[in-house]
């Protein structure tokens, strides 16, 4: 069996998996579709301890109702329970998902409806089939087809992403500047030390800020960016710009928001140019 045989086998295997996945999704029997998704409510927020780890998230007590039994559950984000909660205030809604009939296996989720149809794996299988076909084309017809095969989807997705990203960044900055800033305070600096395979130790410091919005919401949040010298920021007073609709979107440094917006745009445009260049070079080489 030559390369063609193996690539045909590759495409057939992942094509079958994709079809199976889409079939299960249509039949409504994927794990994602059998997952119960409910909105929970943060009932209590505890302050993280100075020097503790940022991995566990801000300690919260969450309540949610199981729709099938109507029973109320009160739980905490102790141990492995889904997405890390990095911004919390009493009354904040937070997604909770769990397998049907097993509310004790709850997981917190920031995006409650992500992958609700269970098509993430079939989509990935289709991507692998596509990669296999591009490999066949590149082997049979030459390297320009590899550039075309990878450059075209790259460019299309980049062309869709760049304007969306620009609009989102503009909206975010407009929202952050729509209200006057509030005073906040660094209530803890969380420390994580890890050691790599070579024995090198690295330490990360994550400040935790607490601020109260003009609407009276007391927010506790990780503030990984925007604070100078985060290691020694414990107890420091900070000025917080926040979005009135969603206090989870905030910054202690508006200037850094502008800088990151510019760098993101430059990165996106460079990525788009790389894609366009790949397509152009591939097309010219094929035409010759």
């Amino acid at each position: 069996m030559g390369w063609h045989g193996y690539l045909v086998l590759w495409c057939a295997a992942f094509g079958t998996m994709a079809l199976l996945g889409y079939g299960m999704s249509l039949a409504g029997v994927t794990r994602a579709q059998r997952t119960v998704r409910v909105m929970g409510r943060i009932e209590r927020v505890r302050e993280p301890r100075q020097g503790s780890s940022q991995r566990d998230g801000i300690p919260v007590v969450v309540s949610f109702h199981d729709p099938s039994t109507g029973q109320e559950f009160t739980v905490t984000n102790d141990g492995e329970h889904g997405d890390r909660i990095s911004t919390a205030w009493t009354g904040r809604e937070i997604g909770v998902r769990y397998p049907r009939g097993r509310p004790h296996a709850y997981r917190f989720t920031i995006d409650l409806w992500a992958n609700r149809h269970g098509r993430a794996w079939p989509n990935f299988a289709v991507f692998l089939v596509y990669a296999g076909l591009v490999a066949v084309a590149a082997i049979d017809w030459g390297w320009p087809w590899a550039l075309l095969g990878s450059g075209v989807p790259w460019t299309v997705s980049g062309a869709c992403y760049v304007p969306q990203n620009a609009r989102a960044a503009s909206r975010r900055i407009a929202a952050l500047t729509s209200r006057t800033a509030v005073e906040g305070r660094v209530i803890a600096v969380l420390t994580d030390t890890s050691t790599d395979d070579d024995g090198h130790t690295s330490t990360s410091h994550t400040p935790v800020v607490a601020f109260t919005t003009h609407e009276g919401t007391s927010v506790t949040a990780y503030c990984a960016d925007g604070l100078p010298d985060p290691t020694n920021s414990y107890g420091r007073d900070v000025t917080i710009h926040y979005t009135p609709d969603d206090p989870a979107v905030f910054t202690p440094d508006l200037a850094s928001e502008h800088r990151s917006r510019t760098s993101e745009m430059v990165f996106s445009v460079v990525a788009l140019i790389i894609g366009v260049s790949a397509v152009a070079v591939g097309a010219v080489a094929v035409a010759r």
Partner: protein, 363 residues
């Protein structure tokens, strides 16, 4: 509160030991198959090695599904517990350190019991854990030794723990890790070695033949090798003739012959390489010649069978003989494949990488 010593957990079962042996065997077999496949240039063997590990991993995963579903369906039980003793056992270089706890667990509706287990605790939280301190733990009711400290209990359990006073239970304590890990590790290693040995034994002929053919001929005199092939080497040319029932299209045969001819003599450039069913001829370039020449080892021998196959599809009915000629008369290396049959001949030309550049079908 009733206080009695609980049962000890079950030890490593023969099934777990057999599973470890099998897993080691599969890892050894697949790794050895991959490596041996690379050495003897057998793509199917490489893929078989990879496929075996993938299939075994899949089967292992599927076999564990019922158990995992059963375990996941069990609602964990929460209980108060009291620390009898604790000891740091490792992980000082990170924020978390492994702490070995010996605690008394006091469930509401069952007998209290002692258990030992290890859990990572953040350095900042370590002062919360002291001997005689009360904490909240969680465990599956069917495996009470798999205790986990609840670092962030719900307000209800937090209040219970704040006002609780528990009594110690005398030992022995259950242990959370199943003993017998040493035997399991030994059997896994044994399986790994046996698996690798089986693959090497099965393919020893190919491996050793490769070694034998890689050995340079001792002199330029005609020599008859132990296999049914004849090698004649002189300063100007070399030929290798295979015995009956052999072909240079057999897997790796051509590469072995070329390696045997060129090894130990430095890089001897060739003017022409001609391959037929059982005959290989190399004409070496005379020293100081200006004629276009090439390294005979650089030819894409692995592509030769496919090129011959392709040439036979160019309209020759009943193909009888084939010949591959590699030369470099026009500057670039050319591989010409000719096939003759009862009613005509066809040929194709490929470049130095074995890519077909011209086809001349039979007329």
């Amino acid at each position: 509160m009733t206080i009695t010593a609980g049962p000890l957990p079950t030890r490593t079962t023969p099934g777990a030991l057999a599973g470890g042996f099998l897993t080691g065997g599969v890892i050894g077999t697949s790794l050895a198959a991959f490596v041996v496949g690379c050495i003897i240039e057998s793509l199917p063997l490489c893929f078989a090695g990879l496929g075996l590990s993938v299939v075994y991993g899949l089967l292992f995963f599927l076999a564990g599904v019922p158990r995992r579903l059963r375990e996941a369906a069990v609602v964990p039980r929460t209980a108060l517990a009291m620390i009898e003793s604790l000891e740091a056992v490792g992980g000082e270089a990170t924020s978390d350190i492994a702490v070995r706890f010996d605690i008394t667990v006091a469930p509401n509706d069952a007998s209290a019991y002692r258990v030992e287990f290890t859990q990572n605790i953040n350095l900042a939280d370590l002062p919360d854990y002291r001997p005689r301190g009360v904490l909240v733990v969680e465990y599956p009711p069917d495996r009470p030794w798999r205790v986990r400290i609840v670092k962030r209990p719900t307000p209800e359990w937090e209040d219970r723990a704040a006002g609780a006073r528990l009594d110690s239970v005398p030992g022995p304590a259950m242990v959370s890790e199943t003993p017998g890990g040493c035997a399991l590790g030994f059997l896994t290693l044994l399986g790994l070695l046996l698996g690798a040995a089986v693959v090497i034994l099965l393919f020893r002929a190919d491996l050793f033949a490769q070694d034998a053919s890689a050995r340079p001929p001792s002199s330029a005199r005609p020599s008859v090798s132990s296999t049914s092939s004849t090698t004649v080497v002189s300063s100007a040319s070399a030929t290798v003739a295979l015995g009956p029932d052999q072909s240079f299209l057999d897997k790796g045969e051509l590469r072995r012959a070329i390696d045997a001819l060129t090894k130990g003599k430095g890089t001897r450039p060739a003017l022409t390489v001609v391959v037929q069913e059982r005959l290989l001829s190399v004409v070496f370039a005379p020293t100081g010649t200006q004629a276009p020449q090439f390294d005979p080892r650089s030819l894409p021998y692995a592509r030769f069978p496919a090129l011959v196959d392709e040439a036979t599809t160019l309209g020759v009915r009943s193909p009888q003989t084939w010949q591959i000629t590699a030369y470099r008369l026009t500057g670039s290396l050319t591989i010409r494949v000719g096939v003759t049959g009862a009613d005509g001949a066809a040929s194709l030309e490929a470049d130095g990488r074995g890519k077909v550049v011209r086809r001349t079908p039979a007329r």
